[in-house]
């Protein structure tokens, strides 16, 4: 299948709000005060727009894809490894950004990127972003690493205490490393790997596997294992680094010389949405600088606009390098591997997400 | 009371098979109003099955069942005016004694006050008014049995079915209960259909007895008829103890044609020296075993041709004319009996009692 033949074409004006909107999102993206009374950017929205929010949180992009296909959600907060699949499956509606006043203030380097825009059509609004950093325990890992080598070639030094993100998309991290260290593989884009390139990444990850203590996909787990010393080096998010009690585990999180993968999630609207007007209202609401600041700070990522930084707490934007284009340059934002090579090659077929999924299972073994 | 005067229960060619087993085999039976009718037979002979057919727990494969003038063949148990005292009592464990007894009235919609009064009355009849508030588990076996009886009679059924109700009681208690049962039946005038494998119990209680074998009635009659005039070796053997002379033994010992039964108590044992009474048949032999049974001795004798006889030497008071000392093991004796005490047996059923 090629791209969105079932996509409806963007609407050009909005109507009455429908009174309800259902949202599928990562935990922490749609908080209505029920987790923590202090954390609430939903109630105001409901009052303002009359759109009652029901939210469902998901744990992995695959789970989200499955849920999204049920057609029961108006809005999906999708990471890059999901967005293109949504578009291809015809699940995502084209979004008319003109109808979202807050769109304008969003950083340009997040706009019209390949994970939110296909054939010049916009499929969603960029949310916060962040990088998958390298974190290490400064006591145990010496000298201080500056390269991903620490989790690849040097991983055996910390056998059983290395961690990595638990998802097929982590293959891209290996690709980023290979791009720098094995230029002859010809990797141009870590999400655009032909079979040979994928095999090289898989080999690298398989050898890393021997040193991995555990993979992580939730905060709590990786935070705890760094604090207890079960893990001393591996990928992390800035927010986790911030949460770790330095007294327990002196850690440092860096953006290594090779650059890093990262994410910039996209608020999408379902092509089957029965409440498109509320959906648009939500997209605008969540891009509101104050709300965006609140949400991205809670989750632990950079907000999507300079304006938002005015609302964020002191130092947040600095810590998370918000608006730092040079920094963002070094990030390979998550994208969905598809057969049509994203790097523009036409002479080979690239491996797709399914291939990656299989490869990931094999790597873990 | 004869059955034909006013038949209360009538079975016409009723048959019931379980797989290959003919539990009840083309049975005809008429039981009269107010009769105390017993069914006697070994285990597996179909006694319970007949009872379950009458109560309606089982459907006959063929044949007809009437209660009074009504054909009940197709009616459910709750549509038949019959109640049952189950072998294991089947008291409702979650109800107390009074509630158990009142149950039949309750399901008939009798008001609370009335059913309580009538249940108490029934309990008084079985002399259990003092345990009305107890749960069945707090009763002894004999008490439970009486509660089951009260529960069954309180609805004044036309027929009461009793399936070995005394089987689980010990001997002393069983004897007491037998007396009570008989009294209650007399008082209420209900037809009792009683199942037992205890021949003495059947003899003691019944107006008439049907002896069962493999789903069929092999003999039907008053206790006296059954005991004194068994028509087959099977009945002679099953009801009481009998010496059975099959045709060969009869020829040898009695010098007569046919098979005969002789009750042990009809045999007189005398020392070989004594002369036989006039008209007596005699046989000499040796005592192989003399078992004390309280009311007398059971004496086993081996005759000269190897035939074994059992004689009952009843111990009697000193005033009785023949209160003699019993002979003992090894003694040679002459057994004698009157030809009139020999019961001729039908030839058809000359086989052993079978315990299936």
């Amino acid at each position: 299948g090629d791209d969105g033949d079932s996509s409806t074409g963007a609407v050009d004006k909005l109507g009455e709000n429908e009174g309800e909107v259902s949202i599928l999102a990562w935990p922490g993206y749609v908080e209505d005060g029920s987790t923590d009374p202090e954390v609430d950017w939903v109630s105001g929205f409901e009052k303002e727009t009359g759109c009652q929010v029901t939210a469902k949180v998901y744990g992995t992009s695959d789970e989200a894809f499955n849920l999204a296909k049920s057609g029961e959600y108006d809005v999906v907060a999708a990471s890059g490894d999901l967005t293109l699949r949504m578009v291809a499956a015809g699940e995502a509606a084209e979004v008319n950004t003109d109808l979202i006043p807050n769109y304008e203030g969003i950083y340009d380097f997040l706009k019209d990127r390949e994970w939110n825009t296909v054939d010049d059509k916009n499929y969603g609004i960029p949310h916060g972003y962040g990088a998958n950093l390298l974190m290490y325990n400064t006591k145990d890992v010496t000298p201080a690493p500056t390269s991903w080598k620490a989790v690849f070639e040097d991983a055996p030094k910390h056998k059983g205490q290395v961690t990595a993100y638990d998802s097929p998309i982590y293959i891209a991290d290996a690709a980023v490393y290979l791009m720098a260290h094995q230029p002859d593989l010809g990797i141009e884009n870590p999400y655009s790997l032909d079979e040979k390139q994928l095999a090289a990444a898989v080999d690298l990850l398989k050898s890393q596997r021997a040193s991995v203590g555990e993979y992580w996909s939730d905060y709590t787990k990786t935070q705890a294992s760094f604090e207890t010393g079960d893990t001393v080096v591996g990928t992390t998010w800035q927010v986790i680094a911030n949460l770790i009690d330095q007294k327990k585990a002196p850690v440092e999180a860096i953006l290594p010389s090779e650059g890093a993968t990262g994410w910039n999630d996209t608020w999408m609207i379902s092509s089957n949405s029965k409440s498109p007007n509320c959906a648009y209202a939500w997209l605008n609401h969540i891009s509101d600088p104050e709300v965006n600041a609140q949400a991205t700070e809670y989750f632990g990522e950079a907000p999507n606009s300079d304006k938002a930084c005015e609302f964020a707490s002191e130092g947040h934007c600095e810590t998370f390098h918000a608006g730092d284009e040079a920094y963002a340059e070094k990030i390979w934002f998550w994208n969905t591997p598809i057969n049509d090579c994203l790097d523009g090659r036409t002479d080979v077929e690239c491996t797709d997400y399914q291939d990656w999924t299989k490869a990931w299972s094999e790597i873990k073994g | 009371m004869g059955p034909t005067e006013s038949p209360q229960i009538q079975l016409d060619a009723v048959t019931k098979a379980y797989g290959d087993v003919m539990a009840v085999d083309a049975l005809d039976l008429t039981i009269g109003d107010g009769e105390f009718f017993s069914r006697l037979g070994p285990s597996g002979s179909g006694k319970t099955t007949v009872l379950r057919l009458i109560a309606g727990f089982e459907r006959a494969d063929s044949g007809m069942i009437r209660l009074g003038s009504e054909d009940v063949t197709a009616l459910a148990p709750f549509d038949r005016d019959v109640t049952t005292v189950f072998q294991d009592y089947a008291l409702f464990p979650h109800l107390n004694v009074l509630e158990n007894v009142a149950y039949g009235l309750r399901v008939r919609g009798v008001s609370k006050a009335e059913r309580s009064a009538r249940a108490r009355e029934a309990l008084a009849m079985v002399r259990l008014d003092h345990v009305a508030a107890r749960k069945p588990t707090e009763l002894s076996g004999g008490q439970r049995q009486r509660v089951a009886l009260a529960r069954a009679i309180v609805v004044r059924p036309r027929v009461l079915l009793l399936d070995e109700p005394l089987g689980a009681l010990d001997l002393k208690l069983r004897e007491q209960m037998q007396v009570e049962l008989k009294q209650i039946q007399r008082e209420l005038g209900i037809t009792f259909v009683f199942v037992t494998h205890d021949q003495e119990e059947a003899l003691t209680l019944s107006d008439r007895i049907a002896v069962f074998d493999r789903g069929r009635i092999v003999q039907l009659g008053t206790p006296k008829e059954i005991y004194e005039s068994p028509t087959s070796q099977y009945v002679a053997d099953f009801v009481g103890t009998s010496n059975v002379f099959d045709e060969q033994v009869s020829k040898r010992v009695l010098n007569m044609e046919g098979a005969f039964a002789l009750r042990p108590e009809k045999i007189l044992l005398s020392p070989v020296t004594a002369t036989a009474p006039a008209g007596a048949m005699t046989a000499a032999g040796v005592i192989t075993e003399s078992i004390y049974i309280g009311t007398g001795h059971r004496v086993h004798i081996e005759l000269e041709d190897g035939t074994r006889l059992v004689a009952l030497e009843q111990s009697r008071g000193a005033l009785h004319p023949d209160a003699a000392e019993p002979e003992s093991r090894g003694d040679r004796v002459v057994a004698s009996w009157s030809p009139g005490d020999l019961v001729p047996l039908g030839t058809g059923s000359s086989r052993d009692v079978q315990h299936r």
Partner: protein, 284 residues
Amino acid sequence: MSSISSTLSRRPGIRLGLLLAAPLTWLVLVYVVALAALLVTAFWTIDSFTNELERTFTLDNVREITGEALYRTVTLRTIGVALLVTLIDCAIALPVGFYMAKIASRRSRHLLVIAFLMPLWASYLVKALAWRSLLSNGGLLDWAGGLVGLGTPGFGFTAIVLTQAYIWLPYVVLPVYAAYERVPDSLLDAAGDLGARPALTFRTVVLPLVVPGLVAGSIFSFSLTMGDYITVNIVGGANQMLGNLVFINSGSNLPLAAAIALIPIVVIMIYLALVRRTGALENL
């Protein structure tokens, strides 16, 4: 009402039909149909990009799961964990069940049953997390182990086995206890009476009689372990089991997930078939 009763009483077939109608419809419509649909899916495929199901029969998925070393490895690991968990739980349940049923006083028996029932109400997730905390570096085991010179096994295969054995233990202890309860004391007396010492009595009389209870319990420990993936994520270190493979594929490739799911289904069916003869299914 009474006439309905009367009619019904003559029609055991209708009575049975009325009783069975709702539950059977439920089980068949809800479960059998769903399961069959899933199994059929295993023989389909999906469009790799749109993730649309392509309903054409193919053995590709089955070939893949039977052909590739990955699935063999993970299957063996999963069965290994399930068997070990079952063995551990059975080994614990046998003496504990015996103590509860045959030695403890009636009163403490009640208390013990309650003690084994209560943990069933503590969230399974919380228990798994508690084990993560127990097993972690600097955790209670590490700390206590340090005192006696033993460490924590850390996260991984052993941790999975320990945690699963812990979580499913009450599911094995309770039926085994119930099985012991059903062994009449007089049989134990009889064996001793005939000269068997307690150990021999246990081996020759008690054990054969509690096997159905043991098997009933093992169905739980075995099949619940076979399918679990959450515990694995929490304490399994870098390991994965069949459940993880089904889970990771369930979003992106349902036919493959369905095909992988066939493995535990087949294994459990074989297990059930094997234990059916012990009469355990009636003793559940």
